[in-house]
């Protein structure tokens, strides 16, 4: 039988006398054609090929997918080459074990367990970090101090330009908005109080914390995440080195030290930014500075400083935590970086709100 023009692949079913289904395939089967659909019932199927032309992997794939769950599937009437291709797939599947479908309820339950699991892991990681710090203070931990100095540079010094820019603009914006309101009551001189107080207590620390989340948390998450992928973390453990102490402690320590310094810097740059706007028309430089110095109390300074320490810790910890639980894939590392930034910023804003309540309570 020689055929030059291809015929469409087809399949028809027939119910036999003994209740089993006969499936007859015919035509030319290629992966470029869409395949026929069939409906059948029952646990017994017999396959036959009538007038079957050429076929590639599409036909064995179609047979495999349709009949793999049928208890009795008789392939003996098929051409031996086709039969062998189907059986090969079936045999290989057997040893891999069944993959039971999950119900909606089950998925929901798994999600519930997973999310509590991730909280448990987060608290576990916080605990390990705390123990790591305690052991470092006692001089018992193995800490990678070269990572510490490297991070002082990359998470601290290298962040100066962006912190300067954003701090400056923050001060500038606040002064601008403040002036619009204060002009109406003729109290423009208080713009200095507004800007300096807001920068010291609030914005200096907050802006720096958010920048640290964008720059440092993501970088830590991808560093530790890719070390997870290449099993470098496991290699550390296999050498008897605790990865939290070795990798996370120096990073968190460096960032917790650098963020407060950056925040102080941002504060001053922000006050300077406010001055540019205020002195462009309404105030003299002298007036602005006198008013600013009067407004900043040591207490406000301390508030900003304490906050920035906490924000630095949160940003660094979020990065290390998300990195250490990253899935072992390129996608997993990307997800870790994203979720580190989200987690860091969320925790920083929550912490800021808590600080506001606490400082208010103690009249600070």
């Amino acid at each position: 039988m020689s055929q030059n023009s291809a015929r469409a692949p087809s399949a028809r079913t027939e119910v036999l006398g003994d209740g089993s289904t006969l499936v007859v395939v015919a035509g030319d089967w290629t992966i470029h054609d869409s395949l026929p659909t069939i409906a059948f019932k029952g646990d017994k199927v017999k396959l036959r090929a009538d007038d079957l032309g050429s076929f590639d992997s599409s036909l064995p794939a179609w047979i495999y997918v349709h009949f793999k769950n049928v208890r009795q599937c008789d392939l003996s009437a098929l051409p031996p080459r086709l039969q062998a291709l189907v059986e090969m797939a079936e045999k290989a599947t057997l040893s891999a074990g069944p993959n039971a479908p999950t119900s909606v309820l089950e998925n929901f339950g798994t999600w519930g367990i997973d999310s509590t699991h991730s909280w448990a892991r987060a608290f576990d990681h916080i605990g390990q970090t705390a123990v790591g710090f305690a052991r470092t203070c006692l001089g018992r931990a193995r800490v990678n101090w070269s990572d510490f100095t490297l991070q002082l540079q990359t998470a601290g010094v290298d962040a100066l330009p962006i912190v300067a820019l954003l701090g400056f603009l923050t001060g500038l914006i606040m002064a601008y908005v403040g002036l619009i309101q204060l002009r109406q009551v003729g109290a423009t001189v208080y713009v200095a109080n507004l800007v300096s107080l807001a920068m010291t207590r609030e914005m200096g620390a907050l802006m720096t914390g958010v920048i640290a989340c964008g720059r440092t948390s993501t970088s830590f998450a991808s560093q530790l995440g890719s070390m997870n992928v290449s099993q470098e973390t496991d290699a550390l453990r296999s050498l008897g080195i605790n990865p939290v102490e070795y990798l996370a402690v120096p990073r968190i320590l460096a960032v917790t030290l650098m963020v407060p310094l950056l925040a102080i810097f941002a504060t001053f740059v922000g006050i300077f930014g406010g001055m540019i706007v205020a002195c462009a028309g309404d105030l003299s430089i002298e007036q602005y500075l006198t008013q600013a110095i009067l407004a900043i109390k040591f207490k406000s300074f301390l508030v900003g400083f304490i906050k920035s320490i906490a924000f630095g810790f949160i940003a660094a910890w979020a990065g290390c935590y998300r990195g250490s639980v990253a899935q072992r894939s390129a996608l997993g590392v990307g997800d870790a970086a994203t979720s580190a930034a989200v987690l860091g910023i969320t925790l920083i804003v929550i912490a800021d709100a808590l600080f506001a309540v606490i400082f208010n309570l103690y009249d600070f």
Binding site: L94, S95, A96, G97, R142, S226, M227, S230, Q231, E232, D234, A235, R237, S238, L239, G240, I241, N242
Partner: protein, 252 residues
């Protein structure tokens, strides 16, 4: 209890991932200075088992003791102590990608040996020369081939003169000459340092040559099929699947 505690003792061990058992019924008793080969089809759980008996992962059930420490009940500190006395070569080598080969080998030495840097450097140089990488010491892991990475991983596992070594497919991807040299190295380590070595391998000739015992993991049943000296698997009376694995692999 025998007079000498076994280096590795597994009793009804079950290992798996995320609540799904992969391999169960693992019973092994291995005394010091022996070489144990773990064989089985790919995906049957060899690496998973190695990680558990090597103290990196928790077993799902059963008991596993390494160097006399019960890993199922050990505290984190006890576990770290045992890990420090063992060396691990991962299937993917797992070299520290930001460090040169020399620094990779030096890292555990710097952390745990009370030696000045130049002495650590000498030790690292020797370990790298042992695995034939004296010329590549200052290369980064990204600059070497997979086979070289495997050998560098062995050098790092050797760094602290471990009492027991775990080698996950050390000879996979190596040419026959290098792989033959690796067999010799493994034998030499065992003979001169008395190191117990547990390795995963697919190369039957090499297993027959170096291993004292062999574990066959059966992927169809998900259990340990057999535990015997490798020569026993050559006789037709042996565990059928292990025998088939050995004879098939020997022909090819």
């Amino acid at each position: 209890m025998t007079a000498v505690a076994p280096v590795l003792l597994c009793e009804d061990l079950v290992v798996g991932h995320a609540g799904h058992p992969v391999m169960s019924g693992v019973n092994i008793r291995l005394s010091a200075g022996k070489i144990l080969a773990i064989v089985g089809p790919s995906g049957c759980g060899k690496s998973t088992l190695m990680r558990v008996i090597g103290g990196l992962d928790e077993p799902m059930a059963g008991r596993s003791a390494l160097l006399g420490t019960d890993l199922t009940t050990a505290t984190a500190l006890e576990r770290e102590k045992v890990l420090r006395r063992s060396g691990f070569l991962f299937q993917g080598s797992a070299l520290f990608s930001s460090l040169t080969l020399r620094e990779n080998v030096e890292l555990p030495m710097r952390e745990f040996l009370p030696l000045p840097p130049h002495e650590v450097a000498q030790l690292a140089e020797y370990k790298l020369a042992l695995v034939g990488l004296a010329d590549a010491m200052d290369k980064l892991p990204s600059e070497i081939s997979g086979g070289m990475a495997k050998r560098a991983g062995i050098a790092r596992a050797l760094a602290l003169d471990p009492s027991v070594m775990f080698l996950d497919e050390p000879s996979a991807g190596l040419d026959p000459v290098t792989s033959g040299k690796l067999d010799e190295l493994v034998l030499k380590i065992k003979e001169s340092f008395g190191t117990t070595i547990i390795l995963v391998s697919h190369e039957v000739p090499s297993i027959l040559r170096i291993a004292d015992f062999c574990v066959y993991l059966d992927s169809d049943t998900g259990t340990m099929g057999a535990y015997a000296p490798p020569k026993d698997f050559l006789s037709p009376t042996a565990y059928a699947k292990a025998h088939a694995f050995f004879t098939l692999a020997r022909i090819s």
